[in-house]
Amino acid sequence: MSLTLEQVRRIARLARVEISDAEAENTLVHLNRIFSLIEEMQAVDTSGVEPMAHAQDLPQRLREDVVDETNRRERYQAVAPEIEAGLYLVPKVIE
């Protein structure tokens, strides 16, 4: 398998990473090398093997639906690039 330049641009768009033409070409070379390493995995027959998502096969813990954290909004927003009236500011998305 080999990726195309168009695919690299597409996944960069999906990943929300701006990529220049020169970067896309360089990335293509590296990704194709990495995928040829990954392809070695395809040689093994894994039919009937249950996928392993996690090291410990444990159910998610549940807890009582009660407030157990304090409100630390001000402290968390102190490191935000732009806030106003307790809200995070981003460019307008709805006209």
Partner: protein
């Protein structure tokens, strides 16, 4: 004082031979003098460190000290520490002063340990050499032209150069073990779920695990006692009774069954490294252990499976860096989508971008089954191989890294070659097992590590096996000559 173990420092503090403030100053002065050439630390904050040391001295004076009270420790810059800049080696978090403590930090603070500084690392822990850090490469104190390994390379270099008595690291594919091996340290990656990941900046959540990097197994046990424990704030933290990790240190090794996987002793390992590993195993035989050959037939698939699973999880975890709530935001942009794309293009380095793109691709429509699910099936095969091996042995041994420390720049332009530095460590993370590395000698003046892999929750046994070796060898006491 700079060459004392944690236990010796603890005694010196208890006996008032030295105060915590004096000890912190000693290390801070040494960092100021020597770190410009090593670059082990990203952030030092004398005032914060000394304030913590003063509090520790008060606690010592009040007779309320624990074994780590007053001891300065280097923290990998992946652990959020309140009021400390916490960068994860990235420009993205270059301005991020953490508003909260990671559980690991909280536990060390409660024990009275002192934060000496935040150590350098590969960006978002993605690397095996510390060369992907936005804050510059860390140099290996054993040879300044070489890398310290990674991703916890700053922690490894700091402890090796005696710029800290011990440090923390995190290990997703070998990031505690490989730098420890390359810098002549003892390091342990616990069973997945033993150390809380809360406030430990996420790379690949099903693999990431924090652990200590120190100069002996005994010191690692002391640190793990503090780091380990259930944490309701980490959804994968294991709710188990607490352990005394030093309880079995002195147990004799007679009858210990050491499994030697043939996949660890074939091609791909430097012959000098292999000789040191074989000598270490011979020493274990003298200590009464027996060796048995075991097989890990899917080991060679560990690196390929890892480079699907880890980037997939990373692409999801790193979606949070969008310039909206914290961290870097591009100074100029057109609209929201453009703000995200420019922020991420500027904030992430090349290796991080590569892994985010790989992860995005393998999770995208039409490729999910072929890559992600296949990798997870291979992952189970690997875990089953280990389970089978542990029916025949108590501990698996082999090299930690296929080579000694490589030259700065040697592999930086070839990601695949860099990825193969972790061929012996990655399978352990996929299975979620505990593993450690201990110093086993030198090749041309560069340290070699012996890897010890245990069954789930066998940390105390691993530390015992490591400690007994360290009672009859001196490799772990060797220190590099610097400045």
């Amino acid at each position: 004082m700079i060459d004392k173990t944690l236990r010796q420092l603890s005694r010196a503090l208890a006996d008032r031979e030295i105060s915590s403030v004096e000890l912190a100053r000693l290390f801070l002065d040494r960092i100021e003098r020597l770190d410009p050439q090593i670059n082990a630390y990203i952030t030092i904050d004398r005032e914060k460190t000394l304030a913590q040391a003063r509090a520790a001295d008060a606690r010592l004076a009040a007779g309320k000290a624990g074994p780590l009270t007053g001891i300065p420790l280097a923290q990998k810059d992946i652990f959020c520490a309140e009021g400390w800049r916490t960068t994860c080696g990235s420009k993205m978090l270059g301005n991020f002063v953490s508003p909260y403590d990671a559980t690991v930090i909280e536990r060390f603070n409660a024990a009275g340990a002192v934060i000496l500084g935040k150590t350098n690392m590969d960006e978002f822990a993605m690397g095996s050499s510390t060369e992907t850090s936005y804050f510059g490469v860390t140099r290996n104190p054993w040879d300044m032209e070489r890398v310290p390994g990674g991703s916890s390379g700053g922690s490894a270099a700091a402890v090796a150069a005696r710029l800290a008595p011990a440090a923390t690291g995190t290990d997703t594919g070998g990031s505690i073990r490989q730098p420890s091996a390359l810098c002549n340290l003892t390091g342990i990656k616990p069973t997945y779920g033993v150390v809380s990941r809360y406030g430990m900046i996420a790379y690949a959540s099903s693999l990431d695990q924090g652990g200590p990097m120190a100069r002996s197994a005994e010191d690692c046990a002391l640190l793990l006692d503090v780091m380990a424990g259930f944490d309701a704030r980490d959804s994968t933290s294991l709710d188990r009774p607490s352990e005394d990790y030093a309880r079995a240190l002195e147990n004799p090794l007679a009858g210990l069954r050491i499994g030697l996987p043939k996949e660890f002793f074939g091609e791909g390992c430097d012959s000098g490294v292999m000789r040191r590993v074989e000598e270490a195993i011979a020493e274990y035989r003298r200590l009464g252990a027996k060796t048995v050959e075991v097989a890990l037939p899917n080991m060679k698939l560990a690196v390929p499976a890892y480079y699907v699973i880890a980037p997939a999880e990373a692409s999801s975890n790193l979606a949070r860096y969008d310039g909206a709530r914290y961290g870097h935001r591009a100074p100029a942009y057109d609209d929201l989508a453009d703000m995200y794309a420019k922020t991420r293009a500027q904030g992430f380095g090349d290796e991080v971008k590569r892994r985010v793109l790989i992860g995005t691709y393998v999770l995208s429509h039409g490729y999910y089954d072929a890559y992600y699910l296949q990798a997870q099936r291979v992952r189970r095969r690997i875990a089953e191989d280990f389970a089978e091996a542990f029916r025949q042995c108590d501990v698996i041994m082999g090299p930690t890294s296929p080579t000694t420390a490589f030259r700065i720049g040697e592999k930086a332009s070839d990601p695949v070659r860099m990825y193969l530095s972790d061929i012996y460590t990655i399978a352990v993370n996929l299975a979620g097992l505990p593993a450690m590395t201990i110093p086993a000698g030198f090749v041309d003046g560069l340290p070699v590590g012996l890897q010890l892999i245990g069954d789930y929750f066998a940390e105390a046994r691993l530390l015992n096996v490591a400690h007994r070796y360290q009672q009859t060898t001196d490799w772990h006491r060797e220190m590099p000559v610097i400045g």
